[in-house]
């Protein structure tokens, strides 16, 4: 198969793996998957990589032959545990190790779908093929490979947006959400507020964030908890005054987004919601306060599924890299 075929299929597999499993990736992981998806062809001097490697490729070909050792599960495990761990150690992102395994594995799987098959269980000389019938397998360089690339490209384009929000995020989005508008009447701590909506006051717990405790009776005040609580108070309980300085509204108007999938209340009877602010004053309510807390380093992320889990995880990683808020003030804090 051609280099482009392997790269497209490798990225397709990475996006699919990220969409259905619990890891998110950055650009480096995409590059790692692309590079590793062509690595096994180092044992074939006539391949693109073989041309680049020159004598190394010829030596590998003489020693093992094409589609043998470098196309085996053994090589996959060896490369993932060495190069994968190395990249993880350098970048601090476990997704790079997964990308190495997925990219390399995608090459083996793609070659298994060709007429020639691969010696997947090397040193055994058994040739693994998928599917078993010859007529259903891809002919390298033929029309069937073009069809294969086209299908892989379509799936890659389909999986890419899903991989960015995660499959759980997609499901929560498809389930939709109920929207309520209300006024913040009280800020309990960094991640808990009370909102007056439809004539009654409702305790609201912000979804996906975990600010350090400040008011829990059986727990000490958490590191950076007061700062998180103060920030929430400052933003959400901001008094609105008119031009003459008279208080028009005690708390801020917010939009609550309550997902239809999953529990709408937690164990303490608090409504679980995303809180949106009208930051520009144009009535659009687009600023997600939950994410804001994470970006400022005032809260950690929770580890259960919800609509914006991937986005929150990315925001947390950025805050952690910047050393924002509790990530520099409380270095011993756990990441989840």
């Amino acid at each position: 198969m051609k280099v482009a075929t392997h790269i497209i299929f490798g990225e397709c597999c990475l996006f699919a793996a990220s969409a259905v499993s619990d890891f998110h990736y950055e650009t480096l992981s995409v590059l790692a998957a692309a590079v590793c998806s062509v690595l096994p062809d180092a044992d074939y001097p006539k391949s693109w990589l073989g041309h680049q490697l020159g004598s190394i490729s010829e030596d590998l070909y003489r020693a093992f032959g094409h589609r043998s050792f470098l196309h085996s599960l053994l090589a996959l495990v060896l490369l993932t545990t060495t190069l994968g761990f190395l990249l993880w150690w350098i970048t601090g992102q476990p997704a790079t190790m997964i990308a190495v395994g997925v990219g390399y594995g995608s090459h083996l799987f793609a070659d298994m779908m060709t007429l020639g098959g691969v010696q997947l269980f090397w040193p055994s000389r058994l040739i693994a093929v998928f599917p078993g019938r010859d007529e259903y397998r891809v002919v390298s360089g033929g029309n069937s490979e073009r069809v294969f690339v086209a299908v892989a490209l379509i799936f890659a384009l389909l999986f890419y947006p899903v991989s960015r929000v995660g499959f759980d995020g997609l499901i929560y989005r498809m389930g939709g959400a109920d929207t309520l508008y209300g006024r913040v009447t009280k800020v309990t701590d960094g991640d808990t507020i009370e909102v007056e909506t439809q004539g009654r006051s409702t305790p609201v717990r912000l979804i996906g964030v975990d600010a350090p405790e400040t008011v829990a009776p059986d727990q000490p005040i958490g590191c950076y908890g007061p700062q998180a609580s103060d920030y929430t108070k400052r933003i959400l309980y901001e008094r609105e005054t008119d031009e003459e300085g008279r208080v028009v509204r005690e708390g801020r108007l917010v939009k609550l987004e309550i997902p239809r999938i999953g529990d709408s209340e937690d164990a303490y009877g608090r409504t679980l919601a995303y809180v949106y602010l009208d930051a520009d004053g144009d009535g659009s309510y687009e600023r997600l306060f939950n994410e804001d807390l994470i970006k400022q380093g005032l809260a950690r992320t929770t580890d259960f599924s919800h609509t914006y889990r991937r986005e929150f995880e990315r925001a947390r990683e950025e805050a952690e890299e910047r050393g924002a808020g509790l990530w520099s003030a409380c270095p011993e804090v756990e990441t989840s």
Binding site: L126, I127, V129, F130, P131, G132
Partner: protein
Amino acid sequence: MDFDTSKSNGRDRRPSGRGAGFPDFSTGSVSRPGRGFDTPRRHRQPRNGGERTGDFRIPAGARKAALVHLALAAWREGLLDPKELGEVRGRDVDEAGLQRALYRSSMGEIEHVLGPIVKGRKVVVEGHLAGTGRTAIERLGAEVEELRLEDEKRYIDMTPMIFVVAAVAMAVRYVSLGLDDQSLYILAGIAFALMYGLRPFFFKMQRPRDE
């Protein structure tokens, strides 16, 4: 077509084999070899000189193909009376006719006819006797020897892995119920539904066992 109009329906006639040119004026039964021009092919030399006398040499194939080739080999050796097969319907048949009749016959019937002939003998297969073919011949009491090439490629079909994935998807559905993970439940459900819906295609994609 040659029709046998005798009352005995041809049961008492000698096996004609491919030897339409061999005159057989015997009036004896199978158990009592005839006189005159009877040519007992049981004692003919094997045509393939490579094996010892009494060995059968057949091409590789499926279980039924192997049994058919073995029956044809036995018939060439003069050991098989075609009229023992119901599908022959008592007619005189040539090799092509016998082959057609054998393919129409059930494997059980062919095994029944072949059993006494191949018991204790050696069957040399030119290649790989895949699937249940080897078991079938060994069950008849024959010794099977496969002739394999040094550089012969041997394939392993990974298609059944799909069924493993389907089983895992089914298991994950129940695990996700226990974990109260709705998105995982939906994902596993979609995966299992896809696997189940495409099951006929996956079966079709598998490498034929007896190839």
